[in-house]
Symmetry: C2
Subunit: 356 residues, 2 copies
């Protein structure tokens, strides 16, 4: 069976809905060399295990970890696994019989999944007028049973960055751990003035996904922890593997994802990522202003994501024209200005919008 | 940065410890075309979503599902995720406030992980003299709170197949669900006389991994369910994705794994897999007899896996010579005769063993 080349199988021409993107060529090349390696069996697959150590070192630098020697973590299947593991570590370290997690309404649905899976209570609190976690509401929600406070740095629906230092202080006062979900934002935020990283607040764990703005292949997520206490809280014994415990949620993991993450981070950090982040932000700002000038209501983008109120019937026609677009819970269209989204593509989208 | 070709990066020349293997060329080719697709976002990545449907159809056939129209499941990251999800579905469907899972001592450590994660009690019961689940012990362990009985079809340490019909009957009597872990054995067992599949017993869920004997790339595991009740019990809502719920443990998943699984199953099922299974079994039988003739104690292989009592000092020297070998909890060496393990490779291993 012969098929058309890669670009045809995975065309990103009209994808405006995804938080993943066209991988960088260096990422593809590295992935193709490790399609049979399993980082979940490091004694057998030593080369990929070494690459994973390198990936964590690189990620720790990107998220401003204060001390690379104590930074810990692993390459996950994505943000969901990293978020689930952050909740699990907090639950396992909690003294409470009935632990809860406090998160803003803007938290990704993986926290709902984590709560169901791990049998912890998820307390979601409202956002402020700027669509960020309302710190008063978070303060009111935490109690002695709170195991974890979650802040989002680059929310899924609106690209907003929660007040991470304030949330960390609330967590600290409550004796809870602090987790930041920067799955999508983590490769853009280093080039902004936002407070979001280990350097900005005493956070315990952070999600940052190479396969989103990091331009690695799928699947390559990241969980970075302040120190080894997180993974220690997750470890189960592994008889028969020649290592003694496994802290990951999954067992077998993607060597291709790990290798591609290292290759692309070595290629693009920091200059290539800075350039991409700025181009994507310019595209988002331009699209927001074009939509506003057409009379659509627009949520002003703080990161490269534009939400705008476009009538449902128009959305259906855009989809019929081949555009992959998704909607917020309130019904706005979300356009995620990922690296594969060009100005020309946005112009074509606006032409179709104008026509409809 | 330029590196040596694929064969150098991932040499399987001396790997006798892994339950993964060198992928089939058709699997590699397909994987390379879907390195950026996410089956976890099926509305955006429609082509890979269709391929996943095809993968489940093919897997359902391989595990003798009685009715492809009602078969359900998905491509997981591997056996761990599939086993965790089987436990989670059983827990979620149980009426008990304190559900338990009954599994033989030979069950993979992913069931320990599942129990910790999901806060269910894991009751492990002894094996019989042939290293299979002791059905009397299983009967004694189940009670009204038992949510799931686990049988292993191809155990990690000894390649043994539990008495699946008998275990299913015990589960049924207890009002529990029945899960079969055929992660490793599932592409070999169809060519044996063992009772293990949906055709042999009224099982609810089954783990079968394309990236083990199925010769797909990593990661490509499989969870197959009798009907939709399993995935329904796992679903959480997914605002903002253009689908309405997600039943998987992870969020983002590997399109490469899915595409490679379809390609290789279409290429090899059933004749290619039969031929591979028979060659691997002949290699295991030959190795067992060679080891026995040298005076080593050998656990007679029922599937392509040989366990043998080799002194620890010898094991260390074999490792120093580059052999990747692992040990059972009792200390035997395990040699997993995967498709990449050739007779020549085993001869070289024996030569090193004789020399040492």
């Amino acid at each position: 069976m012969h098929r058309s080349p890669v670009v045809d199988a995975e065309s990103f021409d009209r994808i405006l809905s995804s938080m993943c993107t066209e991988p960088h060529p260096a990422a593809r090349e590295a992935a193709e060399r490790f399609l049979a390696s399993n980082p979940g069996d490091p004694a057998t697959y030593e080369e990929i295990a070494e690459l994973e150590t390198r990936a964590i070192d690189l990620l720790a630098g990107i998220v401003d970890h204060p001390d690379p020697r104590t930074a810990d973590g692993y390459i996950t299947s994505g943000g969901t696994e990293a978020n689930v593991q952050a909740v699990r570590a907090a639950r396992n370290r909690s003294d409470s019989d009935d632990p809860n997690v406090v998160a803003p309404e803007s938290a990704h649905f993986s926290f709902t999944k984590a709560a169901e899976l791990l049998d912890v209570e998820l307390r979601t609190v409202p956002l402020d007028s700027n669509l960020r976690a309302d710190t008063d509401a978070v303060s009111a929600a935490v109690d002695a049973d709170t195991a974890l406070v979650v802040g989002v740095a680059g929310s899924t629906e609106y690209g907003r960055v929660d007040p991470i230092p304030e949330l960390s202080a609330i967590a600290d006062d409550a004796g809870a751990r602090m987790h930041v979900d920067a799955a999508w934002g983590g490769f853009v935020l280093p080039f902004t003035e936002h407070d979001w990283s280990f350097a900005d607040a005493p956070i315990d764990t952070l999600t940052v996904d190479p396969h989103k703005f990091g331009r690695a292949v799928v699947p390559a997520g990241g969980l970075i922890a302040r120190d080894s206490t997180t993974l220690d809280a997750l470890a189960v014994e592994t008889p028969y593997l020649e290592t003694y415990s496994q802290a990951t949620l999954t067992g077998t993991r993607s060597g291709a994802g790990v290798a591609s993450a290292v290759a692309v981070m070595e290629e693009l950090w920091p200059d290539g990522y800075r350039e991409t982040a700025r181009r994507c932000q310019r595209n988002a700002d331009w699209l927001a202003s074009e939509l506003a000038s057409r009379g659509y209501e627009v949520v002003a983008p703080t990161l490269p994501l534009v939400a705008s109120s476009i009538p449902e019937s128009t959305i259906e026609e855009l989809r019929a024209a081949g555009w992959k677009i998704s909607r917020t819970a309130r019904g706005e269209v979300r356009v995620v200005c990922m690296p594969h989204v060009t100005r020309e593509q946005l112009e074509a989208f606006l032409r179709d919008l104008d026509r409809i």
